[in-house]
């Protein structure tokens, strides 16, 4: 469906994208990840024909973006980061305009517009001016414009950025639904979005592809160990004696007890326990420690998650802890937004 072959883009003295190489099959939903400035938008703009690559070629459904630009552009639906809307138009006239621009047959326009309006929940707003719409509705309208001509390939640049958690869920559901009939490439820097939506992810950093695979695959291959971090009221020695004979779990001390172990004062130890298999051993651990009379103050399942993979891949030794990666939204519970809202 989409082949990006050795594509590079140089801006004036600055490297945008460097020899990017990937393909997408029909029906895939691919998440495109990377810190800000990694080249996501540049890549998407090159795929949609808004920018021409400095080197390399992009082929959509057998046709080159460079040589058969117009044919390719009619197959692609594109939602830029800020939806391209005309503030003085009404929702309806905007959709009509986009439909004409995107070669929807004249007799289908009316039908297609009303279909989009109902599909994206814009019914009440049809006659409203675009400038008066909330951010969420603007995003929906932009999305409606991107899919009105039923494109084969849908390119979405951060479709959920700047939306409130409820809207994020709505847009995600919509994208999932669209993924049933379209091939979707979406960029985001919200990691859980990728694991909930996509069947494949591409991670790009400083203009280069650093990872290509399914989020599930990476979740399990790197997470075929079950990890738990605990804080126990005990001495290191006690824990060591207790946990060393336990063969299926490796233990390592994260934060040792506070130095002076000869005082009578009780200490706490934080440990990271790694199981050899992906089985949950928390129950056993609880009985083991409580049997020994060592109270557990805290126990938390460690997700060796996308975040860690992402950080590992997009941070180099030299800039560890600085740049890019801070823009990441570490959204642990993406699906319980109401909590956040009520705060």
């Amino acid at each position: 469906m989409l082949e990006v072959k050795q594509v590079s883009k140089e801006y004036d003295g600055r490297r945008g994208v460097h020899q990017l190489d990937f393909t997408m099959e029909r029906g895939e939903i691919v998440g495109f990840l990377g810190p800000n400035g990694a080249g996501k938008t540049t890549t998407m703009r090159m795929i949609t024909g808004y920018l021409q690559p400095t080197a390399g070629s992009i082929v959509v459904d057998g046709q080159s973006v460079h040589d058969q630009g117009r044919a390719v552009r009619s197959k692609i639906g594109y939602l830029p980061e800020t939806p391209p809307l005309y503030p003085d138009m009404t929702v309806q006239s905007y959709l009509k305009f986009v439909a004409k621009l995107r070669d929807v047959p004249a007799r289908e326009i009316k039908l297609r517009v009303s279909e989009m309006v109902s599909r994206l929940g814009l019914q009440e707003r049809e006659k409203q001016l675009v400038r008066g719409l909330s951010k969420g509705y603007k995003q929906r309208l932009g999305l409606a414009g991107a899919i009105i001509h039923k494109p084969d390939l849908l390119v979405l640049d951060e479709p959920t950025s700047g939306l409130d958690p409820n809207q994020i869920i709505e847009i995600r559901d919509l994208i999932r639904e669209l993924g049933e009939n379209h091939t979707v490439l979406l960029s985001t820097h919200i990691l859980p979005e990728v694991s909930t939506l996509c069947n494949r992810m591409l991670i790009i950093n400083q203009g280069q592809l650093v990872l290509d695979g399914s989020p599930q695959h990476f979740g399990s291959s790197m997470g075929d160990q079950f990890k738990v971090s605990i804080e126990v009221k005990a001495t290191e020695q006690q824990l060591h004696n207790l946990l060393t004979p336990w063969e299926k779990v490796r233990s390592e001390v994260i934060q040792p007890s506070d130095g002076n172990s000869d005082t009578e004062q009780q200490e706490t130890v934080k440990m990271l326990l790694t199981g050899e298999s992906p089985d949950d051993f928390r129950e056993e651990l609880f009985y083991l420690l409580s049997g020994a009379g060592l109270p557990i103050l805290e126990m938390k399942k460690e997700n060796l998650s996308l975040e860690q993979i992402f950080l590992k891949l997009t941070t180099t030794e030299s800039d560890a802890g600085s740049s890019g990666t801070h823009d990441l939204v570490m959204e642990e519970s993406a699906d319980s937004p109401t909590e956040e809202e009520s705060k």
Partner: protein, 238 residues
């Protein structure tokens, strides 16, 4: 073609809704009617000749045209809607021509407005109707090429005001081209004379319809439209 008409319609809608276009029309109508008053109603010349009025009103186009064209492309860049247009199956040529077509439609309305004056004059004597109609046609050609220049200026920036000023300067230079050369009759002046914006217009007002004059305006429009297309197309190669 359909895409071009879609863009033209959109621009006409935008003209209809934008306060700037009302302002431009108001300025044009106000100034031309003042000039009409001072040169015709006040002096009450013995002969009834549209040309007496027309010459003065012409320079108003210099101010009105940049106001009417500054938005055309600059606003697309500013709003980011160029991303919609350039990623749609429409050619840049269709986009630019659609916009130009809309500006021509506005120009026709502007010319119709200024035809009120010969209409009033016709009550005071007999007008040379051929000259009036040809003047209107000349106004269309002159205004049309000015609109193309304004459209070109609009592709140069994403700020409307910058576009308007750029458009005004280009128009002014072309307008005054013959007087830059200094002494009348100098070789340079003779060479530049045919390229000055308004010199060609005079033959229309005299009731002469000549091929080279029309060709001049059409070519001028064509060149600036082509330049506009190139500048927008170049955005892809940044």
């Amino acid at each position: 073609m359909r895409r071009m008409m879609a863009i033209c319609n959109k621009e006409l809608q935008a003209y209809f809704l934008s306060p700037t276009s009302y302002f431009a029309f108001a300025v044009y109508v106000l100034m031309t009617s003042l000039l009409f008053y001072s040169s015709f109603v006040y002096y009450q010349p013995s002969i009834v000749d549209y040309r007496l009025v027309l010459g003065d009103t012409l320079s108003m186009l210099l101010f009105v045209v940049p106001l009417l064209t500054m938005r055309l492309v600059a606003e697309e860049f500013r709003q980011g809607t160029d991303e919609l247009l350039l990623t749609s199956p429409a050619r840049v040529t269709e986009v630019i021509f659609g916009k130009y077509l809309a500006s021509l439609a506005i120009l026709i309305v502007l010319i119709l407005c200024s035809l009120v004056y010969p209409f009033i004059m016709s009550f005071f004597g007999t007008l040379d109707l051929t000259s009036v109609w040809l003047s209107a046609l000349g106004l269309f050609f002159l205004g049309g090429s000015m609109m193309a220049i304004g459209l070109f200026a609009s592709t140069l920036s994403q700020h409307q005001m910058v576009s308007a000023v750029a458009g005004f300067i280009i128009l002014l230079v072309l307008w005054m081209l013959d007087s830059f050369a200094g002494n009348t009759g100098s070789a340079l002046q003779q060479w530049l004379d045919p390229f000055a914006l308004t010199n060609r217009f005079d033959s229309f007002t005299k009731g002469v319809l000549s091929g080279p004059d029309i060709l001049y305006y059409v070519t001028l429009s064509g060149v600036f439209l082509l330049l506009s297309i190139q500048i927008v197309e170049r955005k892809r190669w940044r």
